[in-house]
């Protein structure tokens, strides 16, 4: 239960962090270490070097730029929960943050670390997909933007390339007419979710974005979810929600267990109900 020995580097800025990542052997970036720490202790991961990026002021920077909130990768769940950063999602992110794991974990766990770890059950993976967020990735070659919906490839696998790190999350300002719903099912409070439903529904614009998360793979993202609501998004979307369509979506995604599908559909229905409330 003690990690294998590793070397430790705490760079002074992003550029030197990227240089450190290009070092010899297996190099792993660590932020709050709330996902990596357990894996190190269990020796499931034994890197040669850990690059600690929590000292980098650039990664704790937050600003509203135009129609987006740009959040540095090393901002913690508790920072969001406590409202230490501005909010453009009318409280949606704050509510999600407050239910991640436990307070002691939220005080160190970061949004960037959580997304980079790409655990299908992580709250931000589904939340940012539903909020249409974009991720800013940086490597020695420069920066690139990737939509959250395209970021995850599978369980613990993302488009992050070797030598590339997540720098910031860009969250668009939520429209005043948009309705938000987020529900997860955990066997024990704070443990990994077994099902996540995240919906952003804008009846005025006739648009709905639906995310079914914690499917042990990349989340199922329905960009334009009209089919889930009988063809069009109106103010009565709650009563128009078609559970059979959701069940078919899950079947098509390879979820063969009817009980698993039932839990996911139920959680999604609750998320829709929350958005309508």
């Amino acid at each position: 239960m003690k990690p294998a020995p590793f070397a430790y580097e705490r760079p002074r800025d992003v550029a030197s962090a990227l240089a450190a990542m290009a070092g010899d052997g297996v190099v792993k970036v660590m932020a709050g270490g709330q996902s990596l720490g357990p894996m190190l202790n269990l020796r499931l991961v034994a890197p040669d070097t850990i690059v600690d990026i929590t000292g980098l002021a650039e990664l704790k920077h937050v600003e509203v730029a135009g129609e987006e909130l740009v959040i540095g990768a090393c901002v913690t769940h508790a920072d969001i929960e406590d409202g230490r950063i501005p909010d453009v999602t009318r409280g949606a992110m704050q509510r999600v943050a407050s239910a991640i794991a436990y307070r002691a974990v939220r005080n160190r766990g970061t949004i960037g670390g959580s997304l980079s770890h790409a655990d299908p059950s992580a709250d931000w993976v589904s939340t940012f997909a539903a909020l249409c967020a974009t991720l800013s990735l940086r490597s020695a070659k420069g920066a690139r933007l990737v939509a959250m919906k395209d970021f995850m490839l599978g369980a613990l696998e993302s488009v992050l390339q070797p030598g590339e790190m997540l720098e910031a999350v860009r969250v668009p300002v939520m429209s005043p007419s948009a309705r938000w719903g987020y529900v997860k099912s955990c066997r024990k409070t704070g443990e990994f979710a077994h099902a996540i439903g995240a919906v952003l529904i804008d009846p005025e614009a006739g648009r709905a974005r639906v995310v079914i998360g914690a499917v042990e793979a990349a989340p199922i993202i329905v960009d334009n979810a009209e089919e889930l609501f009988g063809g069009r998004i109106t103010n009565d979307f709650k009563s128009r929600f078609d559970a059979r369509v959701a069940d078919t979506l899950l079947s098509k995604a390879g979820m063969s267990d009817a009980a698993d599908r039932h839990i996911h559909v139920t959680i999604l229905r609750r998320a829709v109900a929350e958005a309508a409330a």
Partner: protein, 400 residues
Amino acid sequence: MNSVELTVNTRAVKRDVEPRTSLADLMRDTLDLTGTHLGCEHGVCGACTILVDGVPTRSCITYAVACDGADVTTIEGLDDDEIATELRAAFTREHALQCGYCTPGMLVSARDLVKRLPDADEKQIRIGMSGNLCRCTGYVGIVRAVQSVITERRARDIAPEPDGGRKVLGPAGSGHKACVSSQKLMPAQPAVSEPAAAVAPLDIPDFTPSTTLEQKFTVAHAPAKVFALFDDIAAVASCLPGATLVGTPRPERVEGAIRVKIGPISANFNGAARVERDEANLSGRILGIGSDQRSRSTTQGEIRYRLVPQDDGAATRVELSIGYSLTGMLAQVGRSGLVRDLAGRLVAEFAGNLDRRLSGDVTSAPSAAADLNGVSLILGLLRERATNVVRRLTGRGGSA
């Protein structure tokens, strides 16, 4: 050994530590502050919860080097703390402890809740204390104790502090020694080298897979040709991402290794396999067993295949059924679904490679030692595939 400076219970402390030393181990083993308890050592049980920069953190998954310059308070440092004193009295009154093992962590988390919660709502207290496990007393007394302290303090007009007193961004404990120069701390001893390859097991036992994945695809080749490929062990192995063979393969015994990677976890299963064929039914199976020394895990796997002639024998439908079981540390992560997702992707890539190989596209075949690293690889391979192949992939991996 590397130097770390901390303020521990208001006392300045400077110690040499290994980078892998957790804050909990530094407190207990070096500073003799054994009031901090270690339960699970992977952030689940909450026994090690201490205050870093005034807020609760898990000291078992927080490394001391990462908190250089931080302010640390352990249970020993809360002797004269007003809230902790009230909580100790309430814990005693409400029988909120029995063996006492979880109590230091309970008190630290409870103190934080007393500060932050606006009122003594039982549900909120239970949620707030859910990250601290008690295995003997139960939670009724603990919840009552926390409730009573919150109620008393609010009655005394002591306002809640929703942010627990934290005003700066970033992980608690970080940012104090934001380096003026990059520093590299070396471990006390060199990192362990890759363990020597395990000896392949003598027996390749039959087993019942705990998970089975199905794949089907159709290739524009006669069944006999496809069946011949399955007889070529080296060819089949080259289609399996991460697989390498050792020595000369014989049907009754093939030795080799398969390297798999799931996020930051990688495992190298060394083992052996045997091959069975049923010529009359154009079917067969490959059965193997392997173990990974680093994670002390063992996997058993089988690839069953059945070939069905299509278009009067001009084409063949390949039906694969791939089953596996996993035991040991890797299986104990408790997240079998993650392994299943990886297996699904492996199987999809294996099917794609077989399909390409059968189509005669060997030039762009991946090297046998290539690790599976993300679906991008699979997608890239599928995109490259020869266009004259009629393919149909079904199942979860195929939709990846």
